[in-house]
Symmetry: C2
Subunit: 234 residues, 2 copies
DNA sequence: CGACCTCTTGAACGCTTTCAATTTTCGTGG
DNA sequence: CCACGAAAATTGAAAGCGTTCAAGAGGTCG
Protein backbone atom coordinates (compact mmCIF):
# COMPACT_ATOMS: atom_id res chain seq x y z
CA UNK A 1 0.00 0.00 0.00
CA UNK A 2 2.60 2.54 1.09
CA UNK A 3 5.65 2.42 -1.11
CA UNK A 4 8.71 3.58 0.74
CA UNK A 5 10.88 4.42 -2.25
CA UNK A 6 12.79 7.71 -1.97
CA UNK A 7 11.13 10.53 -3.90
CA UNK A 8 13.45 12.12 -6.50
CA UNK A 9 14.51 15.67 -5.68
CA UNK A 10 13.19 17.10 -8.95
CA UNK A 11 9.79 15.60 -8.21
CA UNK A 12 9.72 17.50 -4.93
CA UNK A 13 11.06 20.78 -6.24
CA UNK A 14 8.45 20.98 -9.01
CA UNK A 15 6.00 22.32 -6.40
CA UNK A 16 6.36 26.01 -5.65
CA UNK A 17 6.27 25.55 -1.90
CA UNK A 18 9.39 23.41 -2.01
CA UNK A 19 11.18 25.08 -4.90
CA UNK A 20 13.51 27.43 -3.06
CA UNK A 21 14.13 25.26 -0.03
CA UNK A 22 17.66 24.46 1.12
CA UNK A 23 19.10 21.01 0.41
CA UNK A 24 18.94 20.16 4.09
CA UNK A 25 15.18 20.64 4.28
CA UNK A 26 14.61 18.74 1.04
CA UNK A 27 16.58 15.84 2.48
CA UNK A 28 14.32 15.90 5.52
CA UNK A 29 11.30 15.78 3.24
CA UNK A 30 12.71 12.84 1.29
CA UNK A 31 13.22 10.88 4.50
CA UNK A 32 9.70 11.46 5.83
CA UNK A 33 7.62 11.63 2.66
CA UNK A 34 6.44 8.71 0.61
CA UNK A 35 4.57 7.96 -2.56
CA UNK A 36 1.00 6.78 -2.38
CA UNK A 37 -0.02 4.82 -5.46
CA UNK A 38 -3.66 4.77 -6.38
CA UNK A 39 -5.65 2.58 -8.73
CA UNK A 40 -8.55 4.12 -10.64
CA UNK A 41 -11.51 4.79 -8.32
CA UNK A 42 -9.37 4.27 -5.23
CA UNK A 43 -10.19 6.66 -2.38
CA UNK A 44 -7.40 8.98 -1.17
CA UNK A 45 -9.39 10.67 1.62
CA UNK A 46 -12.96 11.34 2.63
CA UNK A 47 -14.75 14.59 3.36
CA UNK A 48 -14.81 15.37 7.10
CA UNK A 49 -12.01 12.97 7.93
CA UNK A 50 -9.26 14.62 10.01
CA UNK A 51 -6.37 15.79 7.86
CA UNK A 52 -3.59 13.23 8.39
CA UNK A 53 -1.57 13.71 5.21
CA UNK A 54 -1.02 16.51 2.72
CA UNK A 55 -0.87 15.46 -0.92
CA UNK A 56 0.77 16.55 -4.16
CA UNK A 57 -0.09 14.93 -7.48
CA UNK A 58 2.95 13.38 -9.19
CA UNK A 59 1.11 11.52 -11.95
CA UNK A 60 -2.39 10.59 -13.00
CA UNK A 61 -5.53 12.46 -12.07
CA UNK A 62 -7.75 12.71 -9.01
CA UNK A 63 -11.14 14.33 -8.43
CA UNK A 64 -12.11 16.43 -5.41
CA UNK A 65 -15.86 16.38 -4.86
CA UNK A 66 -18.82 16.32 -2.53
CA UNK A 67 -21.80 14.00 -2.62
CA UNK A 68 -25.28 15.40 -3.20
CA UNK A 69 -28.33 14.16 -1.29
CA UNK A 70 -29.23 12.32 -4.50
CA UNK A 71 -25.96 10.40 -4.20
CA UNK A 72 -24.27 11.94 -7.22
CA UNK A 73 -20.95 13.80 -7.25
CA UNK A 74 -20.43 17.54 -7.37
CA UNK A 75 -16.90 18.08 -8.72
CA UNK A 76 -14.91 20.97 -7.23
CA UNK A 77 -11.48 20.31 -8.68
CA UNK A 78 -9.74 17.93 -11.02
CA UNK A 79 -6.08 17.70 -9.99
CA UNK A 80 -3.44 16.44 -12.38
CA UNK A 81 0.30 15.88 -12.38
CA UNK A 82 2.07 18.86 -10.81
CA UNK A 83 -0.94 20.12 -8.84
CA UNK A 84 -0.85 20.62 -5.07
CA UNK A 85 -3.96 19.53 -3.20
CA UNK A 86 -4.31 22.77 -1.27
CA UNK A 87 -7.44 21.50 0.41
CA UNK A 88 -5.34 18.91 2.24
CA UNK A 89 -3.18 21.47 4.07
CA UNK A 90 -3.53 21.87 7.82
CA UNK A 91 -1.09 23.84 9.92
CA UNK A 92 -2.97 23.59 13.17
CA UNK A 93 -4.07 20.03 13.83
CA UNK A 94 -7.83 19.55 13.69
CA UNK A 95 -8.78 20.54 10.18
CA UNK A 96 -11.14 18.20 8.37
CA UNK A 97 -10.87 17.52 4.66
CA UNK A 98 -13.53 19.72 3.07
CA UNK A 99 -13.92 17.34 0.12
CA UNK A 100 -13.73 13.71 -0.93
CA UNK A 101 -10.76 12.72 -3.07
CA UNK A 102 -10.70 9.71 -5.39
CA UNK A 103 -8.41 8.72 -8.25
CA UNK A 104 -9.87 9.03 -11.73
CA UNK A 105 -7.04 7.06 -13.28
CA UNK A 106 -3.96 5.26 -11.94
CA UNK A 107 -2.10 7.94 -9.98
CA UNK A 108 0.87 8.62 -7.75
CA UNK A 109 0.61 11.10 -4.92
CA UNK A 110 3.42 12.60 -2.89
CA UNK A 111 2.28 12.17 0.71
CA UNK A 112 3.65 14.42 3.45
CA UNK A 113 2.89 14.81 7.13
CA UNK A 114 1.00 18.12 7.61
CA UNK A 115 3.14 18.83 10.66
CA UNK A 116 6.14 18.68 8.40
CA UNK A 117 4.58 21.31 6.16
CA UNK A 118 4.09 23.43 9.27
CA UNK A 119 7.71 22.88 10.21
CA UNK A 120 8.90 24.00 6.79
CA UNK A 121 6.73 27.07 7.14
CA UNK A 122 8.44 28.00 10.37
CA UNK A 123 11.92 27.39 8.98
CA UNK A 124 11.65 29.04 5.58
CA UNK A 125 10.20 32.53 5.02
CA UNK A 126 10.01 31.78 1.32
CA UNK A 127 8.05 28.58 1.82
CA UNK A 128 5.61 30.30 4.13
CA UNK A 129 5.03 33.08 1.61
CA UNK A 130 4.43 30.45 -1.07
CA UNK A 131 2.02 28.57 1.12
CA UNK A 132 -0.02 31.64 1.98
CA UNK A 133 0.06 32.67 -1.65
CA UNK A 134 -1.25 29.24 -2.66
CA UNK A 135 -4.10 29.53 -0.18
CA UNK A 136 -5.00 33.01 -1.38
CA UNK A 137 -5.08 31.75 -4.95
CA UNK A 138 -7.33 28.91 -3.89
CA UNK A 139 -9.69 31.45 -2.30
CA UNK A 140 -9.76 33.46 -5.53
CA UNK A 141 -10.50 30.28 -7.50
CA UNK A 142 -13.38 29.39 -5.23
CA UNK A 143 -14.84 32.89 -5.46
CA UNK A 144 -14.71 32.51 -9.25
CA UNK A 145 -16.36 29.10 -8.96
CA UNK A 146 -19.15 30.44 -6.75
CA UNK A 147 -19.69 33.33 -9.15
CA UNK A 148 -19.95 30.86 -12.02
CA UNK A 149 -22.62 28.89 -10.20
CA UNK A 150 -24.56 32.02 -9.26
CA UNK A 151 -25.49 32.54 -12.91
CA UNK A 152 -28.63 30.60 -13.71
CA UNK A 153 -28.23 30.48 -17.49
CA UNK A 154 -26.43 27.30 -18.56
CA UNK A 155 -25.04 28.93 -21.70
CA UNK A 156 -23.27 31.58 -19.64
CA UNK A 157 -21.63 28.97 -17.44
CA UNK A 158 -20.42 26.94 -20.40
CA UNK A 159 -19.20 30.05 -22.22
CA UNK A 160 -17.30 31.19 -19.11
CA UNK A 161 -15.71 27.78 -18.76
CA UNK A 162 -14.67 27.56 -22.41
CA UNK A 163 -13.25 31.08 -22.37
CA UNK A 164 -11.27 30.28 -19.22
CA UNK A 165 -9.82 27.11 -20.69
CA UNK A 166 -9.10 28.93 -23.94
CA UNK A 167 -7.05 31.57 -22.13
CA UNK A 168 -5.39 29.05 -19.86
CA UNK A 169 -4.15 27.32 -23.02
CA UNK A 170 -2.51 30.47 -24.34
CA UNK A 171 -5.41 31.51 -26.60
CA UNK A 172 -4.89 28.49 -28.83
CA UNK A 173 -7.89 27.91 -31.05
CA UNK A 174 -7.80 24.22 -30.32
CA UNK A 175 -7.31 22.51 -26.97
CA UNK A 176 -8.34 19.42 -25.03
CA UNK A 177 -10.66 19.32 -22.05
CA UNK A 178 -8.89 18.38 -18.83
CA UNK A 179 -11.47 15.71 -18.12
CA UNK A 180 -14.54 14.02 -19.53
CA UNK A 181 -17.61 16.10 -20.30
CA UNK A 182 -19.39 14.33 -17.49
CA UNK A 183 -16.95 15.88 -15.00
CA UNK A 184 -17.02 19.25 -16.72
CA UNK A 185 -20.81 19.23 -16.42
CA UNK A 186 -20.53 18.36 -12.73
CA UNK A 187 -18.01 21.16 -12.19
CA UNK A 188 -20.50 23.55 -13.78
CA UNK A 189 -23.34 22.00 -11.74
CA UNK A 190 -25.22 21.13 -14.90
CA UNK A 191 -26.66 17.87 -16.16
CA UNK A 192 -24.55 16.25 -18.90
CA UNK A 193 -27.54 16.63 -21.22
CA UNK A 194 -27.59 20.38 -20.69
CA UNK A 195 -23.87 20.72 -21.40
CA UNK A 196 -24.30 18.66 -24.56
CA UNK A 197 -27.14 20.90 -25.74
CA UNK A 198 -25.14 24.05 -25.02
CA UNK A 199 -22.19 22.78 -27.05
CA UNK A 200 -24.49 21.88 -29.90
CA UNK A 201 -25.94 25.38 -29.79
CA UNK A 202 -22.46 26.90 -29.91
CA UNK A 203 -21.56 24.67 -32.85
CA UNK A 204 -24.70 25.65 -34.76
CA UNK A 205 -23.87 29.34 -34.23
CA UNK A 206 -20.23 29.00 -35.27
CA UNK A 207 -18.95 29.97 -31.83
CA UNK A 208 -17.22 26.76 -30.80
CA UNK A 209 -17.31 23.07 -31.58
CA UNK A 210 -16.21 19.88 -29.90
CA UNK A 211 -15.11 16.47 -31.08
CA UNK A 212 -14.74 14.18 -28.09
CA UNK A 213 -12.46 16.04 -25.70
CA UNK A 214 -11.09 18.37 -28.33
CA UNK A 215 -12.53 21.88 -28.35
CA UNK A 216 -12.27 24.37 -31.22
CA UNK A 217 -12.94 28.00 -30.42
CA UNK A 218 -14.13 29.68 -33.62
CA UNK A 219 -15.24 33.03 -32.24
CA UNK A 220 -13.59 34.01 -28.94
CA UNK A 221 -14.97 37.54 -29.08
CA UNK A 222 -18.50 36.26 -29.37
CA UNK A 223 -17.80 33.99 -26.41
CA UNK A 224 -16.67 36.97 -24.39
CA UNK A 225 -19.76 38.90 -25.36
CA UNK A 226 -21.93 36.07 -24.09
CA UNK A 227 -20.04 35.98 -20.80
CA UNK A 228 -20.41 39.74 -20.43
CA UNK A 229 -24.10 39.59 -21.22
CA UNK A 230 -23.80 41.67 -24.38
CA UNK A 231 -24.72 38.74 -26.56
CA UNK A 232 -27.89 36.91 -25.60
CA UNK A 233 -27.01 33.79 -27.62
CA UNK A 234 -26.56 31.74 -24.48
CA UNK B 1 -11.08 60.86 5.42
CA UNK B 2 -8.28 59.05 7.25
CA UNK B 3 -8.60 59.58 10.96
CA UNK B 4 -5.26 59.25 12.67
CA UNK B 5 -6.51 58.55 16.16
CA UNK B 6 -4.66 55.74 17.95
CA UNK B 7 -6.57 52.45 17.87
CA UNK B 8 -7.28 51.07 21.37
CA UNK B 9 -5.34 47.90 22.24
CA UNK B 10 -8.49 45.89 23.00
CA UNK B 11 -9.87 46.75 19.58
CA UNK B 12 -6.78 45.26 17.99
CA UNK B 13 -6.56 42.19 20.19
CA UNK B 14 -10.16 41.19 19.47
CA UNK B 15 -8.93 39.69 16.20
CA UNK B 16 -7.40 36.23 16.50
CA UNK B 17 -4.39 37.07 14.38
CA UNK B 18 -3.32 39.77 16.84
CA UNK B 19 -4.55 38.19 20.05
CA UNK B 20 -1.36 36.56 21.30
CA UNK B 21 1.08 39.12 19.98
CA UNK B 22 3.67 40.73 22.26
CA UNK B 23 3.11 44.31 23.45
CA UNK B 24 5.95 45.51 21.27
CA UNK B 25 4.32 44.31 18.06
CA UNK B 26 0.93 45.68 19.09
CA UNK B 27 2.58 49.06 19.65
CA UNK B 28 4.01 48.89 16.15
CA UNK B 29 0.55 48.16 14.79
CA UNK B 30 -0.96 51.09 16.66
CA UNK B 31 1.59 53.44 15.19
CA UNK B 32 1.07 52.33 11.58
CA UNK B 33 -2.62 51.40 11.52
CA UNK B 34 -5.51 53.80 11.30
CA UNK B 35 -9.26 53.81 11.32
CA UNK B 36 -11.13 54.27 8.08
CA UNK B 37 -14.63 55.65 8.64
CA UNK B 38 -17.26 54.85 6.05
CA UNK B 39 -20.67 56.32 5.39
CA UNK B 40 -23.43 54.06 4.13
CA UNK B 41 -22.84 53.05 0.49
CA UNK B 42 -19.25 54.31 0.58
CA UNK B 43 -16.79 52.13 -1.34
CA UNK B 44 -13.92 50.56 0.63
CA UNK B 45 -12.26 48.84 -2.32
CA UNK B 46 -13.08 47.55 -5.78
CA UNK B 47 -12.71 44.11 -7.32
CA UNK B 48 -9.43 43.75 -9.26
CA UNK B 49 -7.81 46.76 -7.61
CA UNK B 50 -4.34 45.92 -6.22
CA UNK B 51 -4.46 45.13 -2.50
CA UNK B 52 -3.13 48.23 -0.75
CA UNK B 53 -4.66 47.82 2.69
CA UNK B 54 -5.93 44.94 4.80
CA UNK B 55 -9.13 45.60 6.74
CA UNK B 56 -10.81 44.51 9.95
CA UNK B 57 -14.36 45.56 10.81
CA UNK B 58 -14.59 47.49 14.08
CA UNK B 59 -18.20 48.63 13.80
CA UNK B 60 -21.02 48.73 11.32
CA UNK B 61 -21.45 46.36 8.40
CA UNK B 62 -19.95 46.00 4.93
CA UNK B 63 -20.85 43.81 1.96
CA UNK B 64 -18.39 41.88 -0.22
CA UNK B 65 -19.83 41.24 -3.66
CA UNK B 66 -19.38 40.96 -7.40
CA UNK B 67 -21.44 42.59 -10.11
CA UNK B 68 -23.42 40.47 -12.56
CA UNK B 69 -23.60 41.24 -16.28
CA UNK B 70 -27.11 42.51 -15.53
CA UNK B 71 -25.59 45.07 -13.16
CA UNK B 72 -26.98 43.60 -9.96
CA UNK B 73 -24.94 42.46 -6.96
CA UNK B 74 -24.03 38.90 -6.04
CA UNK B 75 -23.28 38.95 -2.29
CA UNK B 76 -20.44 36.70 -1.09
CA UNK B 77 -20.04 37.87 2.50
CA UNK B 78 -21.60 40.30 4.93
CA UNK B 79 -18.92 41.38 7.43
CA UNK B 80 -19.88 42.88 10.78
CA UNK B 81 -18.09 44.17 13.85
CA UNK B 82 -15.30 41.79 14.84
CA UNK B 83 -14.91 40.19 11.41
CA UNK B 84 -11.60 40.12 9.54
CA UNK B 85 -11.80 40.77 5.82
CA UNK B 86 -9.72 37.75 4.86
CA UNK B 87 -10.14 38.53 1.19
CA UNK B 88 -8.04 41.68 1.68
CA UNK B 89 -4.92 39.82 2.83
CA UNK B 90 -1.87 39.77 0.59
CA UNK B 91 1.52 38.55 1.74
CA UNK B 92 3.25 38.78 -1.57
CA UNK B 93 2.56 42.10 -3.26
CA UNK B 94 0.45 41.83 -6.39
CA UNK B 95 -2.78 40.27 -5.23
CA UNK B 96 -5.97 41.88 -6.52
CA UNK B 97 -9.08 42.19 -4.39
CA UNK B 98 -11.32 39.33 -5.55
CA UNK B 99 -14.49 41.24 -4.58
CA UNK B 100 -15.97 44.70 -4.28
CA UNK B 101 -16.47 46.03 -0.75
CA UNK B 102 -18.99 48.72 0.17
CA UNK B 103 -20.42 49.84 3.51
CA UNK B 104 -24.04 48.85 4.17
CA UNK B 105 -24.30 51.19 7.15
CA UNK B 106 -21.97 53.71 8.80
CA UNK B 107 -18.87 51.69 9.64
CA UNK B 108 -15.35 51.88 11.05
CA UNK B 109 -12.62 49.70 9.60
CA UNK B 110 -9.20 49.02 11.06
CA UNK B 111 -6.83 49.61 8.15
CA UNK B 112 -3.38 47.96 8.10
CA UNK B 113 -0.60 47.83 5.55
CA UNK B 114 -0.49 44.30 4.09
CA UNK B 115 3.29 44.36 4.35
CA UNK B 116 2.88 44.87 8.05
CA UNK B 117 0.72 41.74 8.22
CA UNK B 118 3.51 39.92 6.40
CA UNK B 119 6.02 41.29 8.89
CA UNK B 120 3.96 40.06 11.83
CA UNK B 121 3.76 36.67 10.16
CA UNK B 122 7.51 36.44 9.99
CA UNK B 123 7.99 37.60 13.58
CA UNK B 124 5.32 35.54 15.35
CA UNK B 125 4.80 31.80 14.84
CA UNK B 126 1.45 32.09 16.56
CA UNK B 127 0.27 34.87 14.26
CA UNK B 128 1.31 32.96 11.18
CA UNK B 129 -0.54 29.87 12.35
CA UNK B 130 -3.63 32.02 12.96
CA UNK B 131 -3.37 33.61 9.57
CA UNK B 132 -3.07 30.31 7.73
CA UNK B 133 -5.88 28.92 9.84
CA UNK B 134 -8.06 31.89 8.89
CA UNK B 135 -7.34 31.31 5.20
CA UNK B 136 -8.10 27.59 5.49
CA UNK B 137 -11.41 28.42 7.15
CA UNK B 138 -12.21 30.85 4.37
CA UNK B 139 -11.56 28.08 1.85
CA UNK B 140 -13.91 25.76 3.73
CA UNK B 141 -16.58 28.49 3.81
CA UNK B 142 -16.29 29.03 0.07
CA UNK B 143 -16.53 25.31 -0.63
CA UNK B 144 -19.71 25.27 1.44
CA UNK B 145 -20.97 28.29 -0.47
CA UNK B 146 -20.28 26.68 -3.84
CA UNK B 147 -21.98 23.48 -2.69
CA UNK B 148 -25.02 25.51 -1.65
CA UNK B 149 -25.23 27.10 -5.08
CA UNK B 150 -24.80 23.77 -6.85
CA UNK B 151 -28.22 22.66 -5.62
CA UNK B 152 -30.87 23.82 -8.04
CA UNK B 153 -33.87 23.60 -5.70
CA UNK B 154 -34.49 26.93 -3.97
CA UNK B 155 -36.11 25.27 -0.93
CA UNK B 156 -32.92 23.30 -0.28
CA UNK B 157 -30.79 26.41 -0.35
CA UNK B 158 -33.06 28.29 2.02
CA UNK B 159 -33.34 25.31 4.36
CA UNK B 160 -29.54 24.93 4.40
CA UNK B 161 -29.12 28.60 5.16
CA UNK B 162 -31.68 28.63 7.97
CA UNK B 163 -30.22 25.49 9.53
CA UNK B 164 -26.75 27.00 9.40
CA UNK B 165 -27.86 30.23 11.06
CA UNK B 166 -29.86 28.25 13.59
CA UNK B 167 -26.78 26.29 14.63
CA UNK B 168 -24.53 29.33 14.54
CA UNK B 169 -26.88 30.92 17.08
CA UNK B 170 -26.51 28.01 19.50
CA UNK B 171 -29.67 26.17 18.41
CA UNK B 172 -31.89 28.97 19.72
CA UNK B 173 -35.41 28.69 18.33
CA UNK B 174 -35.47 32.41 17.60
CA UNK B 175 -32.76 34.53 16.00
CA UNK B 176 -32.30 37.54 13.76
CA UNK B 177 -31.00 37.51 10.21
CA UNK B 178 -27.59 39.14 9.86
CA UNK B 179 -28.85 41.30 7.02
CA UNK B 180 -31.93 42.17 5.01
CA UNK B 181 -33.72 39.43 3.08
CA UNK B 182 -32.62 41.12 -0.12
CA UNK B 183 -28.99 40.37 0.77
CA UNK B 184 -29.80 36.88 2.01
CA UNK B 185 -31.47 36.18 -1.33
CA UNK B 186 -28.42 37.48 -3.16
CA UNK B 187 -26.11 35.33 -1.03
CA UNK B 188 -28.24 32.32 -2.00
CA UNK B 189 -28.29 33.48 -5.63
CA UNK B 190 -32.07 33.57 -5.61
CA UNK B 191 -34.51 36.31 -6.52
CA UNK B 192 -36.07 38.02 -3.47
CA UNK B 193 -39.46 36.78 -4.66
CA UNK B 194 -38.28 33.17 -4.58
CA UNK B 195 -36.91 33.53 -1.04
CA UNK B 196 -40.18 35.09 0.06
CA UNK B 197 -42.16 32.21 -1.41
CA UNK B 198 -39.91 29.62 0.24
CA UNK B 199 -40.34 31.24 3.64
CA UNK B 200 -44.09 31.35 3.15
CA UNK B 201 -44.05 27.67 2.28
CA UNK B 202 -42.07 26.86 5.42
CA UNK B 203 -44.52 28.92 7.52
CA UNK B 204 -47.52 27.12 6.04
CA UNK B 205 -45.94 23.78 6.86
CA UNK B 206 -45.01 24.70 10.42
CA UNK B 207 -41.28 24.40 9.74
CA UNK B 208 -40.17 28.00 10.28
CA UNK B 209 -41.61 31.48 10.20
CA UNK B 210 -40.27 34.99 9.87
CA UNK B 211 -41.36 38.42 11.04
CA UNK B 212 -39.14 41.06 9.48
CA UNK B 213 -35.62 39.96 10.30
CA UNK B 214 -36.65 37.66 13.13
CA UNK B 215 -36.71 33.95 12.33
CA UNK B 216 -38.46 31.27 14.35
CA UNK B 217 -37.43 27.68 13.78
CA UNK B 218 -40.36 25.44 14.68
CA UNK B 219 -39.11 22.11 13.40
CA UNK B 220 -35.30 21.86 13.10
CA UNK B 221 -35.41 18.13 12.42
CA UNK B 222 -37.72 18.62 9.47
CA UNK B 223 -35.35 21.30 8.22
CA UNK B 224 -32.49 18.86 8.41
CA UNK B 225 -34.48 16.22 6.55
CA UNK B 226 -35.09 18.69 3.74
CA UNK B 227 -31.38 19.52 3.55
CA UNK B 228 -30.52 15.82 3.47
CA UNK B 229 -33.09 15.14 0.79
CA UNK B 230 -35.17 12.81 2.97
CA UNK B 231 -38.05 15.26 3.07
CA UNK B 232 -39.20 16.51 -0.32
CA UNK B 233 -41.09 19.52 1.15
CA UNK B 234 -38.64 21.93 -0.36
C1' DC C 1 -14.64 -7.92 -31.06
C1' DG C 2 -17.74 -7.12 -27.21
C1' DA C 3 -19.15 -4.98 -22.84
C1' DC C 4 -19.55 -0.83 -20.54
C1' DC C 5 -19.62 3.82 -20.00
C1' DT C 6 -19.98 8.33 -22.15
C1' DC C 7 -22.32 11.28 -25.00
C1' DT C 8 -26.24 12.76 -27.64
C1' DT C 9 -31.05 13.63 -28.78
C1' DG C 10 -36.13 14.04 -28.04
C1' DA C 11 -40.25 15.29 -25.31
C1' DA C 12 -42.77 16.56 -21.16
C1' DC C 13 -42.75 18.33 -16.74
C1' DG C 14 -41.72 21.40 -12.86
C1' DC C 15 -39.65 25.17 -11.02
C1' DT C 16 -37.48 29.65 -10.98
C1' DT C 17 -37.49 33.87 -13.18
C1' DT C 18 -39.62 37.84 -14.83
C1' DC C 19 -42.97 41.51 -14.93
C1' DA C 20 -46.37 44.10 -12.49
C1' DA C 21 -48.78 45.80 -8.59
C1' DT C 22 -49.62 46.22 -3.61
C1' DT C 23 -48.32 46.32 1.17
C1' DT C 24 -45.11 46.92 4.75
C1' DT C 25 -41.06 48.67 6.87
C1' DC C 26 -37.74 52.04 8.08
C1' DG C 27 -35.17 56.38 8.08
C1' DT C 28 -35.49 61.39 7.69
C1' DG C 29 -37.40 65.71 8.46
C1' DG C 30 -41.06 68.46 9.96
C1' DC D 1 -43.80 62.22 18.11
C1' DC D 2 -45.91 61.79 13.86
C1' DA D 3 -45.74 62.06 8.86
C1' DC D 4 -43.83 61.33 4.57
C1' DG D 5 -41.14 59.03 1.01
C1' DA D 6 -38.04 55.55 -0.52
C1' DA D 7 -36.68 50.99 -0.24
C1' DA D 8 -37.83 46.30 1.04
C1' DA D 9 -40.97 42.58 1.11
C1' DT D 10 -44.93 40.14 -0.57
C1' DT D 11 -48.17 38.22 -3.84
C1' DG D 12 -50.09 36.87 -8.41
C1' DA D 13 -49.71 35.22 -13.21
C1' DA D 14 -47.22 33.94 -17.25
C1' DA D 15 -43.25 32.46 -19.59
C1' DG D 16 -38.71 30.61 -20.13
C1' DC D 17 -35.45 27.10 -19.30
C1' DG D 18 -33.10 23.22 -17.03
C1' DT D 19 -34.21 18.82 -15.31
C1' DT D 20 -35.89 14.38 -15.77
C1' DC D 21 -37.02 10.14 -18.11
C1' DA D 22 -36.21 7.24 -22.00
C1' DA D 23 -33.72 5.61 -25.87
C1' DG D 24 -30.05 5.29 -29.08
C1' DA D 25 -25.33 6.30 -30.97
C1' DG D 26 -20.52 6.51 -30.28
C1' DG D 27 -16.12 5.68 -28.06
C1' DT D 28 -12.83 3.05 -25.19
C1' DC D 29 -10.49 -0.65 -23.09
C1' DG D 30 -9.91 -5.27 -21.98
Amino acid sequence: MLERKMVPVEQIRQFRIFRNLGDEIVSDIRRSAWIKSLAADEVLFRQNDPVRRTYFCLSGQVKLFRLTRAGSEKIFTIASSGDSLRDSISLKPGRLYPLHCTAISTSEMLSIDPEFIADICHRSPDARASLIDALEQRIDELVDHAELLSVDKAGFRVASYLLNEYRRNGNEQSFRLGSSKKYVASYLSLQPETLSRCLRHFRQNGIASSVNRRIEIHDPERLEQIVNGVDAAA
